[in-house]
């Protein structure tokens, strides 16, 4: 789902970029400055005026050949939908084709065939980083502006290379999860785990553990982006339960729950802690491992890394749980020995938002762009929720 919906943006971005290049008489200078897939709508809107200008004068559709890398998989179906939508929008005569496998020997005949049609622009999935260099150099020399997508070339001979933005992908997936209620389902599932629903601490623990595990294999940012709707879902569910039991006013805002801040904190902490667990958990691990291997000549295997990281992760997880669960009503006190961390942090969520400040900083780091409220994510204002007057 993530790749698929992203694919559309990717194609849209790519198509509009080629278009911008094909239409601009200055030789693609405007296209090189066009934004990447991260902001496809901007790219499209920038490209649009140039299209209508040149399209209006000539009335001819711009011919673009699209050689996809692996048609038949969801990702490229998404790319296809996006490319065709963009083609319609910008009056492009799009020749969409692609190889069945990610195989340069399947891609070549397609490129050669499309060559005969003399397109004005190309979008190519380079199924080999080296093999297509001379071809693309030829296209560029012939002013058939070429954009590569989904994989890089070994030399930057093309106009622009566009690849998936996993952060945006995670965001899109998160928005979709929230919109279609998957998040709520997942939240119910977590709350339903044996022992979890009995106390807020249980919820925090379970949620933190899941965040950790996911983050161990997925990038930290993507994990947060994916689990954020679930977290909001959990808070909403707890709020509803409280309303149902009559513990709070009917118009009670679930975002004012103390446990809400704790779950959000757990999300941030858990993602960072879990990211350490495996070499692939976050990029610094791989870089660090590479440096260590280079310096010492020792190879660190996946499991060696994990055995090393597991105790550290466990310790950090326990500490962060203690820190977060501290100050929770009810269950929180059962876990945390009273006064253990008194010197560290004061459990006053309402008045002195020190931890929130820290958490907000932490989250802002991860969600530079997510803070803006989205129309379809109802509780999107969560980031402003904790003690907003204080800042």
């Amino acid at each position: 789902m993530k790749r698929a919906s992203l694919g559309k943006y990717l194609a849209l971005g790519a198509a509009s970029m080629v278009l911008a290049a094909a239409c601009s008489s200055s030789g693609g200078t405007s296209a090189t400055t066009a934004p990447s897939a991260a902001a496809p709508s901007t790219a499209a809107s920038e490209a649009a005026p140039s299209t209508s200008a040149s399209g209006g004068s000539t009335g001819e559709a711009v011919k673009i050949a699209f050689i996809a890398g692996q048609i038949g998989i969801t990702f490229y179906t998404g790319v296809e939908c996006g490319a065709k939508a963009a083609a319609k929008e910008f009056n492009v005569d799009l020749n969409w084709t692609g190889s069945h496998n990610w195989d340069i020997n399947e891609t070549r005949p397609l490129i050669d065939a499309a060559k005969a049609t003399n397109p004005q622009g190309w979008v190519i999935s380079p199924t080999d980083p080296d093999a297509l260099i001379s071809d693309i150099e030829g296209f560029m020399a012939a002013k058939q502006w070429t954009v590569t997508i989904d994989a890089p070339m070994s030399k930057p001979v093309e106009l622009q290379n566009i690849q998936s933005n996993h952060y945006e992908g995670g965001k899109t997936a998160a928005a979709a999860m929230l919109k279609h209620g998957v998040a709520r389902r997942f939240a119910f599932w977590i709350l339903n785990l044996p022992g979890v629903g009995k106390s807020t601490t249980g919820v925090i623990l379970a949620f933190g553990a899941i965040t950790c595990l996911l983050s161990a294999f997925v990038s930290n940012t993507a994990t947060v982006a994916m689990l954020l709707p679930t977290a909001i879902g959990i808070i909403a569910v707890i709020g509803k339960l409280l309303q149902h039991r009559g513990d709070v006013e009917p118009d009670f805002d679930p975002q004012r729950l103390r446990v809400g801040a704790a779950i959000m904190l757990m999300l941030a902490y858990g993602a960072s802690v879990g990211g350490l667990l495996t070499p692939v958990g976050s990029p610094p691990n791989l870089i660090g491992r590479g440096l260590i291997e280079e310096a010492t000549g020792e190879r660190i295997s996946f499991f060696q890394w994990m055995t090393l990281a597991l105790p550290i992760c466990l310790l950090m997880f326990v500490l962060s749980t203690v820190a977060v669960a501290q100050g929770q009503p009810g269950g929180g006190r059962g876990v945390v020995r009273e006064g253990l961390l008194e010197f560290l942090l004061q459990p006053s969520y309402d008045r002195m938002p020190r931890r929130e400040l820290f958490a907000f900083h932490h989250l802002v780091e991860r969600f530079e762009q997510l803070a803006a409220p989205r129309p379809h994510s109802a509780p999107a204002s969560w980031s402003q929720a904790p003690a907003s007057p204080a800042w």
């Binding site: 399947e106 050669d112 060559k115 080999d128």
Partner: protein, 374 residues
């Protein structure tokens, strides 16, 4: 074992059908049933002729269709037709060996994976001989000539080695070549992946791409296509004009009869597999030269494509009838179809289906035509 012995030895057992025996024999050394032989010979030739006509019709059809779409018959541009040949070159080379093997009643399903292994070994040799790791990483190859020579030799030897292994298992252990080569394909692929950790070999000299893979002889003829056509000519000559070709078809027609005629069937089969291996090595060189890279994730359907080309060309899957010319044309058909469909902007999913349907129809009509002829 001489030709005379083959023709003079009275058949101890009745060959399966007169048509099959006629297929491998030539008029000058097969006095008995000469008229049937001539008929079969002409018919065998006719398959290639029909295929050639089909290809011309296909080209004209796509030419007209592309002219309607683009205002000029872009499909029939010389560049486009030659690029079709160039893209068919690898399968063409493989189909040559496959023609012999299928003609002799065997199959080789390992060609694609052997090709990967051969190209990986060749690439490793090229990079290792080309210069020190620092030099090759900086695009400098002090021993370029030697590196490429040794690389090409490695590819051919590696291919021949796998062919030898296939042949030895088939002849010594008496297993079906279908299963044996299925097994060795896994073996070759596994070794290639172990050697490379599934990553392509880096720093293969670009010069091989400029000097051969992307080279156009006389300014228009792609060098790999020229090589494939030269190989095809040699293979055609061997099949039609030498004892080697005769025995190949004799074995495919009736193994029993060949043994009784004194042909060392095992040794000949072994040679055929090694020949296939050598051609795999050559195809591997073409692969490296075209891409300036190995392609360890590709080539999964090479053997099936080669078999399809061979069968389309009129070679019998049951052995005994083989046509090199037909295989050359057969290897062009799928590429021509795909090329035309891309130019006509047919949805790619339909393209797969169309190629498949036309393959079946072509073989069906050929078979019907032959049945009617006999």
């Amino acid at each position: 074992m001489s030709e005379e012995t083959l023709t003079e030895t009275p058949p101890m057992a009745e060959p399966p059908t007169s048509a099959d025996t006629g297929a491998f024999a030539r008029p000058e050394d097969a006095p008995e049933g000469a008229s049937g032989n001539r008929l079969m010979r002409s018919l065998r030739g006719a398959t290639s002729i029909w295929l050639a006509l089909f290809i011309v019709a296909l080209a004209i059809g796509f030419g007209i269709a592309s002219a309607l779409e683009y205002g000029s018959p872009v499909y029939l541009k010389v560049d486009n037709l030659l690029s079709i040949g160039l893209n068919a070159a690898q399968i063409m080379v493989l189909a040559m060996g496959m023609t012999y093997l299928i003609g002799a009643g065997h199959l080789d399903l390992s060609v694609g994976q052997s090709l990967i292994l051969a190209s990986v070994l060749a690439a490793k040799v090229m990079v290792a001989v080309g210069g020190t790791p620092e030099q090759v990483a900086a695009d400098q190859y002090p021993n370029l000539g030697l590196a490429i020579t040794l690389g090409v030799l490695t590819a051919i030897l590696a291919g021949a080695g796998i062919g030898l292994l296939n042949g030895l298992i088939v002849t010594r252990l008496r297993l079906s070549s279908f299963i044996v080569t299925l097994g060795t394909s896994g073996l070759a692929y596994g070794i290639a992946l172990v050697l490379t950790s599934a990553a392509n070999v880096a720093f293969i000299p670009d010069q091989i791409q400029q000097g051969f893979g992307g080279l156009k002889l006389f300014g228009f003829m792609p060098a790999p296509l020229a090589l494939a056509l030269v190989i095809a000519a040699i293979m055609w000559w061997f099949l039609r004009r030498t004892r080697f070709g005769l025995r190949t078809l004799a074995i495919g027609s009736s193994k029993e009869a060949s043994i009784r005629a004194g042909v060392d069937v095992n040794r000949h089969t072994l040679r055929l597999f090694v020949l296939m291996g050598v051609l795999v090595g050559i195809a591997a060189v073409i692969d490296i030269a075209r891409n300036a890279n190995t392609n360890v994730v590709g080539h999964q359907t090479d053997s099936l494509q080669a078999i399809a080309a061979v069968v389309l060309g009129g070679t019998s899957l049951f052995g005994g009838v083989a046509s090199v010319g037909g295989s050359v044309l057969g290897s062009l058909v799928p590429v021509m179809l795909q090329n035309g469909l891309v130019i006509l902007q047919v949805e790619p999913f339909y393209q797969f289906a169309v190629v498949g349907i036309i393959l079946i129809l072509a073989v069906y009509f050929d078979q019907r035509r032959r049945e009617r002829a006999t």
